[in-house]
């Protein structure tokens, strides 16, 4: 089968919801990265065969947001586009879908991206309100119109916050933070270890920035509508973060006994990322020099209430499938949805007991933190859900280049009880 290359990629800074990108739509974030990717790779947009965008909270005013982004990015009308959704792995799904369409011969050159504007997730009105409005419109005389309205109660017009609805699992009725609390309880993960992990994430992000590691990864965005603010780095990263400050925060999801706080969880963030995916044929035809190649990937399912363990479940399967020894992996990215959740995975990776219980196998191998999320993670940078999968692959490939590492792993937990993992090789 044809090998699939990731040629290049770029992302916006990840910006806390409601701040600098509050006037940007999901479409804006998408076109920023896609048009920048086209410019930086120098490809003729006409050569692109397909555009695939991962997005979780798909905007109602731009359904099939991928198509809208594609056109506004200057990609010709004849190039098709579609949107994919696999919750937090939507960005990675877009890369997998791109790879699959190349493998089947449908395409040679694909732009795959992940975007999320969590700022713009709408508020919803109650079902009763919706019904009332519909009835009001359908009745043609004044009296029934008024009588329809008279049934409305104040509570019916209080909006529901879409973001919270989206972050709650409808099958187990836990929100994502509560699933992290489940893991913290079951694995006995202390508040201190979570805060220490969070601290590490911030520190790594800062030193990575200082060393210029994000120079090729993050584009500068001048924020509409005034274009006065130029953002070139993730504003969730706190240079003045200390363990003391982290310790002061109250648990959010279990206020009495919980350990998961806003400080040791990923942040609500807006951002976009895109990569250029190409088959080997396109690589040689267009004379591209790829960052790396996709070796294999896996998506798998598990209990929704323990969705945070997705990386363990998917990695175990992936290594088996690809016949790769864990020891050969030189660099790891595990998405930091919650510090507790990453630590729980570390424990499964390292322990025969946990592995036996969860995966029905011996331990995969303990993770060396020196090769884990070396440039920081979602706790510091934020987690624009549909975008993080793309960022993980991009940041991993760029670091593999810097360190001359041949084999890397990017993996995420996925809301709803799934795991996603992808093996990337440099040559």
């Amino acid at each position: 089968m044809e090998r699939i290359a990731i040629v290049a990629g770029v992302r916006t800074p990840y910006i806390k919801a409601g701040t600098h990108f509050s006037e940007c739509t999901a479409v804006d974030l998408g076109r920023f990265v896609v048009s920048e990717l086209i410019a930086r790779t120098g490809i003729d947009p006409d050569e692109v065969d397909s555009v695939i965008i991962g997005n979780v909270a798909q905007p109602v005013e731009a359904v099939n947001v991928a198509r809208v982004i594609s056109l506004f990015s200057g990609i010709p009308e004849h190039v098709p586009a579609f949107t994919v959704h696999r919750n937090c792995a939507s960005g990675m799904q877009s890369i997998v879908s791109a790879a699959q369409s190349i493998a089947t011969g449908e395409a040679e050159l694909v732009i795959a991206g992940g975007i999320e504007s969590m700022t713009n997730i709408p508020f919803f009105l109650s079902k009763k309100f919706q019904k009332t409005v519909t009835n009001f419109q359908h009745s043609h005389r004044l009296k029934p119109k008024l009588s329809t309205l008279s049934h409305l109660r104040p509570a019916d017009v209080i909006p529901k916050i879409g973001l919270l609805l989206g972050l709650t699992d409808p099958t187990c009725r836990l929100n994502m933070g509560q699933t992290a609390e489940v893991l913290a309880r079951e694995f006995g993960i202390s508040r201190e270890s979570q805060d220490t992990f969070a601290m590490m994430s911030h520190q790594r992000a800062i030193s990575a920035r200082n060393e210029g590691n994000f120079k090729d990864e993050i584009m500068t965005v001048l924020t509409p509508p005034k274009f006065e603010k130029a953002v070139d780095f993730d504003n969730g990263v706190r240079p003045d973060e200390t363990l003391e400050l982290l310790a002061r925060l109250k648990p959010v999801f279990d206020r009495k006994y919980g350990t998961v706080t806003a400080g040791n969880s990923s942040q609500i963030t807006d951002g976009g990322a895109a990569v250029l995916v190409a088959g080997e044929k396109a690589v040689s035809k267009l004379g591209l020099s790829p960052l790396g190649y996709i070796k294999d990937h896996v998506f798998t399912g598990l209990a929704p209430k323990r969705m945070g363990l997705g990386p363990s479940y998917s990695t175990a399967l992936l290594l088996e499938r690809a016949g790769v020894d864990f020891a050969d992996i030189g660099l790891l990215e595990i998405n930091e949805a919650f510090a507790a959740q990453v630590i729980a995975n570390e424990m499964i990776f390292a322990s025969d007991k946990y592995s036996e219980g969860h995966l029905g196998r011996k331990a995969i191998g303990s993770i060396d933190r020196e090769i884990l999320n070396v440039n920081g993670g979602a706790v510091a940078m934020g987690h624009p859900v549909g975008s993080s999968g793309t960022r993980l692959v991009l940041t991993l490939l760029l670091e593999m280049q810097r360190r001359s590492v041949d084999l890397g792993l990017a993996t995420l937990c996925v809301g709803g009880g799934q795991g996603a993992a992808m093996l990337l090789e440099r040559s």
């Binding site: 076109r31 048009s35 920048e36 086209i38 410019a39 930086r40 790779t41 120098g42 490809i43 003729d44 506004f72 990015s73 200057g74 584009m219 500068t220 001048l222 509409p224 509508p225 005034k226 274009f227 006065e228 603010k229 130029a230 070139d232």
Partner: protein
């Protein structure tokens, strides 16, 4: 007799198709009008069986382009023009008097006489195609609408709107036309005939034309219903026209007169007045000159060279005022634009000015909200040279320093592909020198836009020593795509426009040294017809920039262009002009440009005495060196024809079009007089006035610029 119209009966409707054979557009020539009359007579006879008439054009992007320019050009006595108008009016009166509804079904451009024909119809429907618009551009050719336009338009859309359309010649696009009540419906092209038929079958009450809330939008609507209100409106319009045209253009005032007369003496007399005034306007020198400029413009816009490269995107190095202007223009024309500037703040300013420009167009209904979004989405940017590998054109718009330009060219050379055209927007530096360190210098050229980019139509395409013909061809075609008028110029200091402007600005500064007031000079220039005075121009361009260009020209061309010390002195005390709030004038946020009473004191060390000079003297001091320099340019082959000089000075420097251009103006003076005046000036003020050989030869042989013109551009 020309057969332009064909009529076809479908049921009880008559469909008239206008298709002038052998022409790209439909023109209302004299014999075409005769043909129309024949058709109208036939219709009059069929009044019993015909229920309605539709007039439409078989041309793809044109309804009717108006009257025949050649016929107007050939009018040499007033009665000829009046007769032409009367004849047209009589035909259109017949059209208007038909006892059944007539619909003008407009697709594409509807201009001049075409618009007047449409106005004589009971209804007008127009397609929403991008090429569809309606205009009465007569005043731009120094004449007025003569087929009843000055009478029918105000009665249809109200006096103020009609005045605006007629005195500016501005285009009205479909949506706006509907809102103004100029058309009755805007439809997709496929429904044009359906719409026309609907107008006939379901006679419109006229209510649909009254835009909802128009009284609220225009609370002074009642004014035009009463004589005193109308006279207020007309007075205001006259004042505006005088202010705008500086009394040099009689046509807009004549148009107002015709409209006013029609209201005070009735339509019939109004039509007669319109015909008389058309005759009067058509024989003016202004009209002849404007038609000449129009033809020149057509000639320079008609680029038949095929572009060697198809250009899809452009990268701008630099995001100053010029960069922002060019970025906006390119994005509007559908190109992908990449802006590179070290300062993100500067890029932000450029994006903001683009957004503001698009916002203004949106307000004017010139673009839709979606088009506005499209335009803005075409721009990407970076704070370093990156992402330029796939770019077709790189254009630098950085500060005017040779070293900086050379080094950015060397840098960009490595980042782009070998086919990428590498261009400079420099106004005076040598393109050939800039190209020295570039790998394939044949793709290096100058592409010099003028400020403000959206208003100035000229682009100088500068051919360096090594620039290939293919590169020049591509740039000529590219400039046309941007809607500009390109003029190819040789890589000599200042190219054409700045080289001719410099002696002009310089002489103004010398006059200041000799003790003439800034305002006196500028007033003379305004009354000559220049859009602004020489000092006001320097303030606008930036005195630092003018001084810099001056130094470059002095270095490259020698003593003749030695700059006045005034520029240097002003620069040294940070009086840069409008941008710094102080130049030869003071710039106040509220009051705008005001005279500076202290200027002469500040420059006292340079000013010797107090000189009095009349307007004619000032004109000679400023324009004769300009003409002289143009002669040197022709000798050196900076451009090859006087036409190129004229088109460049009109569209790049605002030289008054009613004079036909700088060298047309020179020809009206005569080489004899120019040379003798220059010699006199040379005796009094120095060798810089010594006439060019070309001028001296003309004076000796009795030739002029346009008679000695050999070959074609």
């Amino acid at each position: 007799m020309t057969k332009a119209f064909t009529m076809q009966y479908i049921d009880d409707l008559a469909i008239i198709t206008f298709d002038l054979s052998g022409e790209k557009v439909n023109i209302l020539k004299r014999d075409v009008m005769d043909d129309l009359e024949r058709i109208l007579l036939e219709l009059e006879r069929k009044a019993d069986s015909v229920k309605g008439v539709v007039i439409y054009s078989a041309k793809k992007t044109n309804f009717i382009a108006g009257a025949d320019l050649a016929e107007i050009e050939n009018i040499h006595d007033e009665t000829g023009g009046t007769e032409l108008a009367r004849q047209g009016q009589s035909v259109l009166n017949k059209l208007a008097a038909l006892p059944f509804p007539v619909v003008a079904a407009i697709n594409g451009s509807c201009l001049g006489g075409g618009t007047e024909l449409a106005l004589a119809c009971r209804y007008r429907v127009i397609t929403d195609e991008p090429q569809s618009f309606i205009a009465l551009p007569e005043v731009n050719l120094g004449i007025i609408p003569g087929f009843g336009g000055t009478q029918r338009l105000p009665r249809l859309i109200g006096i103020p709107q009609a005045l605006k359309m007629i005195t500016t010649g501005a285009r009205v696009y479909p949506k706006k036309a509907l809102r103004m009540g100029l058309v009755d419906e805007v439809v997709p092209v496929e429904h044009l005939l359906n719409s026309a038929k609907r107008m006939i079958r379901q006679p419109q009450t006229g209510k649909h034309r009254k835009v909802f809330g128009s009284v609220f939008r225009n609370p002074f609507l009642f004014l035009e219903k009463i004589p005193i209100g109308r006279s207020m409106i007309f007075d205001k319009a006259k004042k505006a026209v005088r202010q705008h045209t500086g009394r040099h253009y009689p046509a807009p005032l004549a148009a107002i007169e015709a409209i006013e007369y029609g209201y005070s003496h009735g339509m019939k007399n109004g039509l007669e007045r319109e015909a008389l005034l058309l005759g009067r306007m058509a024989v003016t020198d202004v009209s002849k000159k404007l038609i000449g400029v129009f033809r020149l413009q057509e000639k320079f816009s008609n680029i038949d060279r095929t572009p060697a490269a198809y250009i899809n995107n452009i990268c701008l190095l630099g995001a100053g005022v010029m960069g922002a202007g060019i970025a906006t223009l390119a994005a509007e024309r559908g190109l992908s634009v990449r802006i590179i500037n070290r300062s993100a703040r500067r890029i932000g300013q450029a994006l903001r000015s683009l957004a503001a420009h698009v916002g203004r167009k949106k307000k004017k209904l010139a673009v839709t909200a979606s088009e506005a979004e499209w335009i803005q989405s075409r721009v990407t940017y970076d704070t370093e040279i990156r992402g330029v590998g796939g770019t077709d054109i790189v254009l630098e718009v950085i500060a005017e320093q040779m070293d900086a330009k050379k080094s950015i060219f060397a840098e960009i050379d490595k980042a782009v592909s070998e086919e990428t055209l590498i261009l400079s927007n420099t106004s005076s530096l040598s393109i050939s020198e800039m190209a020295e360190d570039v790998l394939n210098p044949q793709r290096v050229a100058g592409l010099h836009f003028f400020n403000p980019v959206d208003k100035m139509q000229l682009v100088e395409v500068v051919k360096g020593e090594q620039t290939s013909d293919a590169t020049v061809d591509s740039l000529m075609a590219f400039s046309r795509r941007l809607g500009k008028i390109p003029v190819e110029v040789k890589d000599r200091p200042g190219f054409l426009v700045n080289r001719l402007l410099l002696p002009y600005m310089n002489e103004a500064a010398f006059l200041l040294e000799e003790g003439v007031q800034v305002e006196t000079v500028d007033k003379a220039m305004i009354s000559f017809g220049m859009p602004m005075g020489a000092f006001a121009l320097m303030d606008l361009v930036g005195i630092d920039i003018a001084a810099h260009v001056g130094e470059n020209l002095y270095r490259g061309l020698g003593e003749r262009l030695k700059p006045s010390l005034v520029l240097e002195a002003m620069r040294n005390i940070d009086r840069f002009g409008k941008k710094s709030g102080k130049g030869f004038y003071l710039y106040d946020k509220k009051k705008g440009r005001i005279a500076d009473p202290d200027l002469n004191t500040i420059l006292a060390h340079l000013i010797s005495g107090k000189k009095s000079i009349n307007t004619r003297g000032i004109n000679e001091r400023l324009f004769l060196p300009m003409i002289n320099e143009a002669s040197f340019c022709l000798e050196e082959g900076v451009v090859s024809t006087p036409e190129a000089v004229d088109i460049a000075m009109i569209f790049g420097a605002g030289f008054p079009p009613f004079k036909g251009g700088l060298l047309r103006y020179a020809d009206t003076l005569g080489a004899d007089r120019i040379v003798s005046e220059l010699q006199k000036l040379a005796e009094s003020y120095g060798e810089r006035f010594i006439p060019a050989r070309l001028l001296a030869d003309q004076a000796a042989s009795g030739d002029s610029f346009y008679t000695t013109q050999t070959g074609d551009n």
